[in-house]
Amino acid sequence: MTAHDWWIIAPELAAAGLAALLVIADLALRNKRILAELAVIGLAAPLFFSLNLWFGWYGDTTDPSALFGAITADRFALFFHFLLIGVSAAVILASTKYLERMPGLRGEFLALMLFSMSGMMMLVSAKELVAIYVSLELTALPVAALAAFHRGARSVEAGLKFLVLSAIASALLLYGMVYIYGFTGSTNLEIILQRLNEIPSQPDQPFGSYGVLLGVVLIVAGFAFKMAVVPWQMWVPDVYEGSPTPLAAFLSVASKAAAFAVIIRVLYAAFGSEPLTQDWSGLIAALAAVTMTVGNLLALSQKNIKRLLGYSTVSQAGYMLAGVAAVSANSGSAGFIAGPQGVLYYLMGYAFTNLAVFLSVIAITHRTGNELISGLNGMGRRSPVVAMLLTVGLLSLLGVPPTVGFMSKAFVFSAAVNSGLIWLAVIGVVNTAVSAYYYLRIVRAMYFEEPSSDEPIRADLRALAATGTAAAGVAVFGIGPWFLLKLAEESLTIL
């Protein structure tokens, strides 16, 4: 390894080192209350190394590729580094009060979450199939342990379900990778694209060969598990309901963003040439339509708020996939908003939105212990600030202007229309209308239902700061989306 390699993988190493440091601190320190603060402050290290790679302050960072081309620190990876670090910091801040219910296990919770985060950072930087697979496992295994953290029947069920299903998804993914490797003789994404263009393709078969078709379908299936795309969404409601709520927030934002990053990179880097894109665009568009419809319909009848939010994340994944499918809009012309750019903007906005929602839910249910929607009755009076933040988040999930959710949906659907996927945009808009029912039901419960008691609920100040920042992001980037759009555009120069 050269000094250049060290600089490139410094963010991932810093994240993993921070996790190990937290384990040591947990063993050595007597006062475990400061562990969460230590974790948040420590996140400055991976953030600094990522910023360094973006701006090129120290070290030789002109060539972003390292470790024989397996890892890259291009703008695309760095964009997701910032997102992942921000999400982790917010989740940790908001869960400090929640963690006090598990006094003996605070260090483990934080360390496992950061190990998972370092895996995600590796995942978005990986440019080679084996590196992608290994980092995907590093992402999933700590999450399985975290899901079983409460040790109750529900929690253990959540952990076991996640473990078994993610193992099956990994098996599918590996099988697909084997096909691609067998066909092209390389695991490097760029060389795969090169070889696919060289090999004579059969015009009557999709992807030029049934072997490649099978490989792509299996790889998409493996990632679809992480993205919570129908028909691999079964684990989502059960895991969200059973696992600790901070983990559900982490899973719904960070894990999903990392999975979208890697699927965009794989599809655009390894299968990005002209006839291939049309083939997978159809596949992704079909998945998107099914995902948003099924997610919305199943969410309608939910009574538990965590299950409802689980199905809501499924339908949101469907909207984002519409942007991934919008591949023709990506071909250069200045007037269009490119599909992946819409997805990146959507993911950033979704991170703000979903964090605002989940962190408010944590703040309320932590006090009441009631996770039913009826448990939120009258929160507009009992906890006006948190109820307002939750409402902002829900309106953004629904896509009401001027929130960031509206802008994201507008960009993604317009990209779909520009790629000739008008039917998909129509399904998306109809689904948005359907989703108003269950999102607004929560708002109605908070403001128009009688509470069971009038005792006010005070939220922890750190949690309130994290939730407020997320909700502010929802408003600011909804009214002025230019900064995020510019960031997304610059991150996509590699595609």
């Binding site: 390894m1 190990a20 384990v23 040591i24 063993l27």
Partner: protein, 131 residues
Amino acid sequence: MLEDYFRQYGLLFLFAVIAVTVPVGMLALSYAASFVRIRPTRQTPVKRTAYEGGMPPFSPKPSRFNFRYYYYALLFVVFDVETVFLYPWAVRYGLLSKQFGIFALAAVMLFLAVVTLAYAYAWRKKALEWT
């Protein structure tokens, strides 16, 4: 090229055939021998007991054993794998250090640090205490 490919699998197939034939053949031979009175079938209580290394069985059913054995098993696996990794490294260290310099040592030291951290964690969390 393609023939070589199938020849490799032919060997595997042969191996599978032998692996199935030998035990099935033994059972079939034993069954056939009972018809010519070479292998009489006379059941006695001693013959019907579970085989436990030649000793008379101690207890009628599998007894419970302490949960803490699992901790020991897990820790054993950690150190077992550690040895498995260290041995080839130690044998080839001369070659590795010529090619990679100090990094050959640093990589394994990092690995040892991670394993030691796991050990310290188990120790501190009282996984090694019996009571």
